[in-house]
Structure formats: structure tokens, C-alpha cells
């Protein structure tokens, strides 16, 4: 990589004016921005984690260390609050099922749009991207009105939440997989086909395996987005049994938070860190394999 590009070996040293005109040349400025940005995003995470161990009810005044909000408190701790546990369960359930539904739909759509040139493909693609950039509140409210006033047989609850989260997550695999398809080009598929493979066989033996990393990335992203979603899950929830972690924390933030919210967040942070570490190792291995299989074009 050319770390020197742009700044360059000073053929003609840029004067002060040149530097000002090109702040990017000032690596120090960029470092300040980068470190500042990282601190800005990490500080609340640190705050949240630290105060999960607070002894008192406050999440802003340190009152001493305890595990009260994990195990100690008989009503509100993670260990003793059925509401909190069920919120975790509901969040995980929604995220997993959403990923399982949205990703295959999205991948199939991406493959289709990649090959299908003609009447309808533009429209379908447009619809997909439109759903991608529509503010979540609009999706959530229109679905809320749909299930409460038109599709009464669905009603509010887990099913409605899933329907909404799939709409929300559907475009991610499309965008990710299409980018990969464009990157790969058509030569592999054409080669397989030239060698006499049927389309279905080409798809199963060539296209999908080559897409595996992007499909995996899509699963992870859709899962993460659904897990963290608030607006859709909130608008379409029915009762305590369909409350998610985000909703729990929002409710707490509005009515009187306790460090129990922080505790549950910290536990989920720990879990996702472990998960991501494992995944990263797996991915690295599979990338190496992938690297052997697909020579650089």
C-alpha cells in the first residue's frame, strides 16, 4: 500500500497555504479526529459497563461495587427478573428468525437481479432499494396500522414483529450479495455453463459457494440489526412477552432506569464479543480456503 501517496516525498514542499488547503496532508489532524471519534463512541460503552456494577440504583452516581444488578437484587436483577430474561430471549428469537427468513429471500433476489435484465427487474430493484432507505418509523407505523386494522388475523405480537424486521433487514443481503456478484463477474458461472452444467447445478456448485462469505456477512448484519432494533419491535409489540431488550431499556430510560439495564447490556456485550472473536477466527480460516478456490481475476 502506498501510505505516502498524497503527502508524498516532498518534491515541492507544500507551503503553509498548501497545508491549510489540504488538511488531509496533516496526518496529525487525522489522528486527532480518529482518536477523538473512538473515545466519543467508546466512553458511553465504558460508562454503561462500569455502572452495571453499581451498588445503588443510580446509573450516574457511583455508590460502590456490587453484583446486585446481576444476581443480588431479589426483584430487578438479571438473575431474578423474569421480564428481563424474557426480553433477552425475545430479542434473540426475533433476530435469529429474521436472519433466517430475510437472508435467503435477499440472496435469491440479488442473484435474480444480477442475471435478470429486462422488464420488471428495474422495478423490483427499485422497490428493494426504496424499502432500504425509507425511515424505519414509516415502515413501523404502516405495518402497525396494517396488522391492527386490515390483517387483524396477524395482530400485534411476535409474528408482526418478525414481519417488520424482515422488511427492515431484507435489503442488506441484497446490497451485500450484489456487490460480491459484481465483484466476481460472470466468468465463473459462464465457465460452468460452458462445461455443460445446468443452471441449478451452476447455482448450487458455483454461485452459492462463492457467495458464502457475503451470505455469512449478511446473516451477521441482519441478526445484529434486528437484535438492536427498537422502532419496529416497539411499534409492533403486544405485551410483556414480546418485549425486547431495546424496549426494556427504553422503558427504563423513560420511567426510572436501574443498573439492571446496564447489566443486561454488559452481558450481551460479553456474549457478542466472544461470538465475534470465534467468528473472526472461523472466517479467517474460510477466507484462506476461499483464497485457494478463487484465484484473483
Amino acid at each position: 500500500m502506498s501510505a505516502q501517496v498524497g503527502m508524498g516525498v516532498p518534491r515541492s514542499r507544500p507551503g503553509l497555504l498548501g497545508r491549510l488547503a489540504n488538511p488531509w496532508a496533516q496526518t496529525r489532524f487525522l489522528w486527532v479526529v480518529a482518536i477523538g471519534y473512538v473515545l466519543w463512541t467508546i466512553i458511553p460503552v465504558v460508562e454503561a459497563v462500569v455502572f452495571s456494577f453499581n451498588k445503588g440504583r443510580s446509573i450516574s452516581q457511583w455508590q460502590g461495587f456490587s453484583l446486585r444488578w446481576y444476581t443480588g437484587d431479589p426483584d430487578s436483577s438479571v438473575l431474578h427478573s423474569p421480564a428481563l430474561q424474557q426480553a433477552v430471549f425475545q430479542s434473540l428469537k426475533l433476530a435469529a428468525v429474521t436472519a433466517i427468513i430475510a437472508v435467503p429471500l435477499g440472496v435469491a433476489f440479488a442473484i435474480s437481479i444480477h442475471h435478470w435484465r429486462g422488464f420488471g427487474s428495474g422495478g423490483a430493484n427499485f422497490l428493494m432499494l426504496f424499502s432500504f432507505v425509507t425511515p424505519e418509523l414509516i415502515l413501523a407505523v404502516s405495518l402497525f396500522l396494517l396488522v391492527t386494522h386490515a390483517f387483524g388475523f396477524i395482530g400485534l405480537g411476535t409474528t408482526a414483529q418478525l414481519i417488520g424486521l424482515v422488511v427492515l433487514g431484507l435489503a442488506y443481503p441484497v446490497v451485500i450479495v450484489r456487490a460480491r456478484l459484481v465483484g466476481l463477474g460472470k466468468s465463473y458461472e459462464e465457465a460452468a455453463m460452458d462445461l455443460g452444467a445446468s443452471p441449478v447445478r451452476t447455482l448450487g456448485r458455483v454461485t452459492v459457494p462463492m457467495l458464502a462469505p457475503s451470505i455469512f456477512a449478511s446473516l451477521a448484519i441482519v441478526f445484529a440489526i434486528s437484535l438492536d432494533d427498537f422502532v419496529v419491535a416497539y411499534q409492533l409489540s403486544k405485551d410483556a412477552s414480546t418485549q425486547t431488550v431495546s424496549m426494556f431499556i427504553y422503558g427504563a430510560a423513560k420511567t426510572g432506569p436501574t443498573p439492571a439495564s446496564n447489566a443486561i447490556g454488559t452481558l450481551m456485550l460479553t456474549a457478542s464479543t466472544l461470538l465475534i472473536l470465534c467468528t473472526a477466527m472461523l472466517l479467517r480460516r474460510s477466507n484462506r480456503k476461499q483464497g485457494k478456490m478463487v484465484p484473483p481475476v
Binding site: 502506498s2 501517496v5 503527502m7 508524498g8 507544500p14 498548501g18 489540504n22 488531509w24 489532524f29 479526529v33 480518529a34 473512538v38 463512541t41 467508546i42 458511553p44 460503552v45 460508562e47 459497563v49 446509573i59 450516574s60 429471500l105 435469491a108 433476489f109 442473484i111 435474480s112 437481479i113 442475471h115 435478470w116 427487474s121 423490483a124 422497490l127 432499494l129 426504496f130 424499502s131 432507505v133 425509507t134 425511515p135 418509523l137 407505523v141 404502516s142 405495518l143 396500522l145 396494517l146 386494522h149 424482515v166 431484507l170 459484481v182 445446468s198 438492536d228 427498537f230 431488550v245 431495546s246 431499556i249 427504553y250 430510560a253 423513560k254 432506569p257 446496564n262 450481551m268 457478542s272
Partner: protein, 315 residues
């Protein structure tokens, strides 16, 4: 460019490609398209039916009218007139929304571009570390980070303690008493990653040789940046504006949690409040429609330019 030859070859291949039966590829798009038609497009008809519908007699709940012939316009005209008249119910929220979103999106670019640029080409051996640090906050619930911000911003929270201890402020600033600055920073905090991602992806892809060429042709670093890097990332900036700015139009909880005064209300708050009051649900539905219509032009512009860029990319 051997373009025509390639095109010929493709045409031949396409000819030979009786391997894809009619409708084969279309069939793959069908489930997702159907899904969107039923659960994304159709709900807007319900929104229309409620906007132009009535209310039930006892609980004053919205009563959709399915037949467009029976539709009644009063709620929509109420909503529109309250949106455009300066003493209207939604006027202030509307102006705030545009103001806050524009400022917040601008700040997102100001913060996001240098960071993405840094990440893509200046982080060197720390690149992996910074990437991890960039993604790390996502591993904990966004709502919890919001809650953490609230705690930090309390009158006697750590932000004020830091600012007064260092002498930057002489007395604590009331961050949570309905300050637009808090709300805007909250929005930036929530959405700046969506600005950084497309920028990073693009800046990372700009081929070094292109920059070298710019330099070799005698361009100063500044010129290289403005003539090569910036134009190359134009599309990403546009994408950043769209994926980072548009969702802000639907954000209500940031305002509820960080500001909660009439002086900081956004249009999404009006929607949210209308929905919790049975007799006003139709107004909420009308606002949703208006919002949708207002956002269609930027969305269309974005989609068109994406298509064009994609077409240029293929050429």
C-alpha cells in the same frame, strides 16, 4: 477497449444460454418482491384508508375506509395546513426536523470523512485496531448507549464534572433541559457510522495508482485530493447523506430521551404522539404519508445516481 468484442461474445453466449428456462431468474426475485408488495407497499394503502377514513363511535379509534370513493379529506387537509402555516401544529416540528437533520448530517460528514479517510489510508498498522474500535460500540445495545449518554450528561454527570474541573465551563451546562445541541449531538452519535461505512468502503477502493498518477502529473497533495479523491468519493458521500440523513426523519426517541421540550420537537415526535391518542391516529397516518412524499425526491435522486454510477462502473 475491447468492449464491442466482449459484447459480441456475450451475445453469442446469451444465444447459447438456453440453459436458463424462461422465468428462471425472475422466479428467484419473486418471493422477496411479493413480500415487499404485501408488507411494504400494501400497508401504505391501509395508511391511506385510515387517513381518509373515520373513527369508531365509542373508543374513537380510527376506522379505515377501504373504498377510495368514500374517502374524506378533512384530516389530510388539517395536517397539510398545520404543516405549512407558521402557527400550525406541525410547522415548528417540521422546521426543526429539517434544521436538525441538515446540521446533524453535515456534522456526520465533517466527522465521518476524516475518520473514514484515516481508516482507509492513514491508519497503517493500526488499521485493524481502529476497525475493531469502530465496530465495538455496535456490540452493545444502542438504547443502552443512549441511556449511558443521559447519565453522562446529567447536571452532576461526568461530562459536566470534566468540563468544570478543566475550567472549560464555569458552571454545569444543563444538557438535558431541552437543548438543541444535545439533540443534534445525539443524532450524530447515532447515525455517523452509517456515513462512515460507505465512505470507508469507497476510499478503501480508490486505487493507489490513481493517486500516484495525480501526483505524477504535478498535482499538489491538495489538488490530488480535490481532483481525484473527492470526486471519486462523491457517490459515497451521497450514499452517506441518504442512509445517514433519511432515517433521522423518523427518529423520535432521541428527542424524547435527550431533550423532550416543545422547542426541540421533531416531526417524528408528532407522529408518535398522534398515534398514542386514538382520535389523532389518522393525523399520524397523514403525517406518515406527507413524510413519505417529501422523502421520495431525495430517494429517487439517490437511486438514479446509484444506477448511473453502477452503469458507468460496468462500462
Amino acid at each position: 477497449m475491447p468492449r464491442s468484442r466482449r459484447a459480441q461474445r456475450q451475445a453469442v453466449l446469451a444465444e447459447r444460454r438456453a440453459w436458463s428456462p424462461r422465468g428462471f431468474w425472475q422466479a428467484f426475485a419473486a418471493p422477496a418482491t411479493m413480500y415487499l408488495l404485501v408488507f411494504f407497499v400494501f400497508p401504505f394503502y391501509v395508511v391511506l384508508a385510515i387517513t381518509f377514513g373515520g373513527v369508531t363511535s365509542i373508543l374513537r379509534e380510527p376506522k379505515p375506509l377501504w373504498n377510495p370513493l368514500e374517502w374524506r379529506p378533512p384530516v389530510m387537509s388539517f395536517t397539510l395546513s398545520n404543516l405549512v402555516h407558521s402557527d400550525g401544529l406541525y410547522y415548528q416540528a417540521f422546521i426543526h426536523t429539517i434544521l436538525f437533520v441538515v446540521i446533524a448530517t453535515g456534522l456526520c460528514l465533517l466527522i465521518g470523512y476524516p475518520f473514514a479517510y484515516f481508516l482507509a489510508r492513514r491508519a497503517g498498522r493500526f488499521r485493524g485496531l481502529f476497525l475493531v474500535l469502530f465496530f465495538a460500540p455496535f456490540w452493545i445495545s444502542y438504547m443502552l448507549r443512549m441511556l449511558a449518554w443521559i447519565s453522562l450528561l446529567e447536571d452532576d454527570g461526568y461530562i459536566n464534572r470534566f468540563l468544570t474541573a478543566t475550567g472549560i465551563l464555569s458552571k454545569p451546562y444543563l444538557w438535558l433541559a431541552g437543548k438543541p445541541v444535545t439533540l443534534i449531538l445525539g443524532l450524530v452519535y447515532g447515525y455517523v457510522p452509517y456515513m462512515i461505512l460507505p465512505l470507508f468502503a469507497t476510499l478503501d477502493r480508490i486505487h493507489p495508482s490513481l493517486l500516484e498518477a495525480g501526483r505524477d502529473l504535478g498535482g499538489s497533495p491538495a489538488r490530488t485530493f480535490f481532483r481525484v479523491t473527492l470526486p471519486q468519493s462523491r457517490q459515497a458521500i451521497l450514499a452517506g447523506f441518504v442512509v445517514c440523513g433519511l432515517p433521522m426523519f423518523g427518529d423520535y426517541f432521541t428527542q424524547q430521551l435527550l431533550a423532550n421540550t416543545s422547542g426541540t420537537r421533531m416531526i417524528a415526535n408528532s407522529v408518535f404522539d398522534a398515534l398514542s391518542q386514538p382520535i389523532f391516529v389518522a393525523r399520524g397516518a397523514a403525517l406518515i404519508l406527507v413524510l413519505l412524499v417529501l422523502l421520495i425526491p431525495p430517494i429517487l435522486y439517490y437511486l438514479r445516481s446509484t444506477n448511473r454510477a453502477a452503469a458507468e462502473g460496468l462500462a
